[in-house]
């Protein structure tokens, strides 16, 4: 699992690559939270396009970050174009509360 981060306006953008499971999600969670809170950001974008595997640990990670964003009255958005990942996202009910996009431009306009 590799990841890179970027900040555009008040959005923390996290680009994930590789496999998101229980093992990789634990460390990732700490790093995301540290960046989000220490930089006092509002919104978060999880770009899952580079993932080739995700199990329910990924759902747990997304749900936890969603809660953090909501507490700050911010938004969490997901970018994904992988049908297998979308299937597990849909199964979890996450897509009822989190918006799914296919590119970063759709989220950050202007």
């Amino acid at each position: 699992m590799r990841f890179s981060t970027d900040t555009i306006k008040d959005h923390l953008i996290i680009k994930l690559e590789g496999e998101l499971d229980h093992h990789t999600s634990e460390e990732l969670r700490k790093k995301i939270d540290q960046l989000y809170f220490s930089n006092n950001l509002l919104n978060m974008v999880l770009d899952l396009r580079g993932l080739n595997f995700m199990d329910s640990s990924g759902i747990g990670l997304i749900m936890g970050r969603y809660k953090n964003c909501k507490e700050r009255k911010g938004n969490l958005s997901i970018i994904s174009t992988n049908p297998h990942i979308e299937r597990i996202l849909k199964m979890s009910g996450l897509l009822k509360i989190v918006n799914l996009y296919s590119s970063i431009d759709e989220i950050i306009k202007g």
């Binding site: 229980h22 093992h23 595997f53 199990d55 329910s56 640990s57 747990g60 936890g64």
Partner: protein, 146 residues
Amino acid sequence: MVERNYMRLEFLSKSNNESFARVVVAAFASQLDPTIEELSDIKTAVSEAVTNSIIHGYEYKEGMVIIEATIEDNRIEIIVEDKGKGIEDIDKAMEPFYTSKPDLERSGMGFTVMETFMDGLEVESQVGKGTRVKMIKNFKSLSDRE
């Protein structure tokens, strides 16, 4: 039709073995010439079962996780077993979104994912002795695919 084949894998309950375990089972299942989607289903289900053994069965203590897989005709049977603490109430554990460890940000989706992605799921558990999860997946034979 594939002739019967069997494998057994035993490894330490470390989280970095989750990826190892699902890749091994997927490689074994490749003998059935699965579609990418079928292979992805197997990897995800195995990952869920192994993660459960590590987090819940052994609660991060050291123990052995055993995987057995059998292929025959167009189906695979996968057993994931641990000698950990066992599950007190299996029905409750299998409820979607139920987790005994919400503080660890577990989604409570593990068994639901196994049930959805596989064609059969059986869970046997004894408190203090361990848990055995049996999963079955039927592959569409090549002639059925268009």
